[in-house]
Subunit: 412 residues, 2 copies
């Protein structure tokens, strides 16, 4: 066992002894089948591509159904888009119903959903430019209250605000959110949007999210926490269009950002299976190419890197979620071959690799096990939900915390 | 007049009408000599090299006296070193007397003195490594209280804490201050040291100082201000060993850091008159060369750049001080030819350029002027103190604010 595997085992698995009973008596010396039905760890992916499928409006329903199957084959946590400029391009006509249907599709299948983002200077509503800063602030607060309330019970996790480090000094184009943030300051901006989200969704999980992994984000987080603003989880982006970070950088980032005692979500992870974007590009949006193909060498590299990245993240106890930023090459941000599935719908090696990790190495597929003479089922498994079956009877249990645990489960 | 000159005039000069009287009557239609005796703007320089001179312990007293004359020819504001590891290498034996004598030397000549720094992870006391973090914090607070109290009335301005952005993640070597800052966080660290300095010197001017001009320092400043910590002035370093920033970058920095409404001090300015340090060096301390000579081309460039830099800074109303980081090449940080005076003691073109700017273009050397029939002296001058003389009689007045002003002064 490698040192990383050891840490993954320590932080992610439980050694369970489950006392199984059938009709009130211990199920002694019996063969049962045990399987994990859900990971506690959030293996996330954006669900943008499945919105049409969920709404029954996919142009190619068969292909959409295949994509949905591929998605659910690996992932258990969806991020849906709430970019203000697209969600409400015309003031007062938000895209609520379509998004709610999509969110329900995931939620009904047991996959928690996160909305992304409630406040951001990029892709924000153009009509904010007609307002003064006070009116922009009111519109922003109202927007947050509306979305958090409208989606409560279906979406209870939000990237409340995105990329605050750069927000007040963003200079690519004029926009209402940069104007407001520059006027009132970063921390009052964060306080305002978190207060609005908290009020509308007292039980929602609220994230601060950024791509800036430098000391700037540390300083922002420390200022926000000192100001008494309650962040439920810290979002770290890791779009690696310019190359895989490697274990050392990833561990250093985890070391620096775990100091706050907050759960960490790797909110936006991309690894490309084609050429690497040149290092001199500082804003990834500046890289515009006609064609960015996936290549066999790139696909082999991507599969290795995705495995290394996920292993590194699961080995750190602060990480609770990793969201891959796009299962499918079709329609991917920047046209990058960052998906786990090619534009033609066939899985890349990275898909198979992640599938194997999530479902086999880290998961428990249906497995025959014998209980002992006292009816105890012994199992070492990743945290999450399990099902035990025995001759058509069924029991469920949950491994909630790492370490040794004793449980009881009665077969129905 | 260039646009920069116009802004310098607007922010730095007053149009004064001074009603001069002699023995109670207007000094009408008389010739007087007016001169500026002190700039309100702080044209600073480190005074490290003059500590021995002030203490009468210079190895070459004649040369030290010449250096002192050169220093006072341009500068009116001194920074003295309080690096803990050098000031108190053995716990309980601080170098107080020698530094106080040096500080008095400047103060007696009317030059305010700043102490640099009270808390910093670099060149800090090695003996902190023997303490636990609680004891390090106590020692740090005690040290600040002691220095601020011991020097009160001579030094009433302090770089309270230096380079907090990098402080908790500094990884060049283990040190007590990084340990402590990593443990308690940046903002509690800043609060602790500012509280100690404020308590010991309620009227002192207290600065936060950093070399990091990125959004990280903005985020730190915003967090510190939101936490209610009163910063009197914001220190921005500008060691330009890797080349002059240029007006555009300097103005962008001023634009970003003036948003907090705080006075800005350019605390550490260096421009080299030799080769430029390669851009790939990220920690300037890593650049170690056997010899880094001053060259004729480099000296011409340095003179132009120092003029451009100072013009840009004086044109921005938030800037109250610029401290040049070393008049003399001899003994300069990194062996860089960053002085205004060569190692052999002769002034470089940059010295002459800055001398002309400070004393002639921006200053008022003794100048004959006639009063009008009502005894009014008309003068457009840089803010600061002035002396008027007339046949052995003398009056003083101060231009305190930019714009038009009416004053009265009686010749004694």
């Amino acid at each position: 066992m490698t040192e990383t595997s050891g840490r993954i085992a320590r932080h992610r698995t439980a050694d369970a002894r489950v006392a199984l009973t059938l009709d009130g008596a211990p199920l002694a010396s019996a063969e049962v089948v045990v399987e994990q039905t859900r990971h506690r760890f959030l293996f996330g992916c954006i669900g943008f591509d499945l919105i049409d499928h969920a709404n029954g409006t996919a142009a190619d329903p068969e292909r959409a159904a295949r994509d949905a199957e591929l998605w659910e084959g690996v992932f258990n946590f969806a991020t849906l888009p709430f970019y203000w400029g697209r969600f409400e391009p015309e003031r007062g006509r938000p895209d609520t119903e379509r998004l709610r249907t999509a969110a329900r599709w995931f939620a009904d299948r047991g996959h928690p959903v996160k909305g992304h983002p409630l406040a951001w200077h990029t892709v924000t509503a153009d009509w904010l430019l007609d307002l003064d800063n006070e009116a922009i602030a009111r519109a922003q607060v109202d927007r947050i209250r509306r979305e958090v309330a409208d989606f409560a019970g279906v979406i209870d996790m939000w990237d409340v605000i995105n990329e605050v480090v750069i927000m007040p000094i963003f200079d690519k184009y004029d926009n209402g959110i940069t104007r407001l943030c520059r006027d009132i300051g970063r921390i009052p901006m964060v306080r305002m949007v978190f207060d609005a989200a908290r009020e509308a969704g007292p039980n929602a999980v609220l994230l601060l999210n950024d791509f800036d992994m430098s000391a700037a984000y540390e300083c922002l987080v420390e200022g926000v926490l000192e100001a008494g603003i309650a962040i439920d989880a810290l979002g770290l982006q890791s779009h690696m269009h310019q190359g895989y970070w490697g274990e050392e950088k990833t561990e250093a980032v985890l070391d620096r950002f775990s100091r706050y005692g907050l759960p960490i979500h790797f909110t936006e992870t991309t690894l490309v299976s084609g050429e690497i974007m040149p290092p001199e590009i500082t804003d990834l949006n500046d890289y515009q190419v006609d064609s960015w193909p996936s290549t066999p060498e790139g696909e082999a590299r991507q599969a290795d890197e995705i495995e290394r990245h996920y292993r590194t993240l699961l080995a750190h106890p602060s990480v609770e979620a990793v969201t891959y930023w796009g299962m499918h090459d079709a329609g991917m941000w920047l046209g990058a071959p960052g998906g786990l599935v090619r534009a033609d719908g066939t899985p890349k090696p990275s898909y198979d690799r992640l599938h194997r990790l999530v479902n086999t190495e880290w998961g428990t597929p249906p497995t025959a096990v014998a209980t002992d003479a006292d009816g105890l089922l012994r199992l070492t498994g990743f945290l999450g939900d399990y099902r035990v079956t025995h001759r058509g009877r069924e029991a469920a249990f949950t491994l909630a915390e790492p370490g040794e645990v004793r449980l009881a489960a009665a077969l129905d």
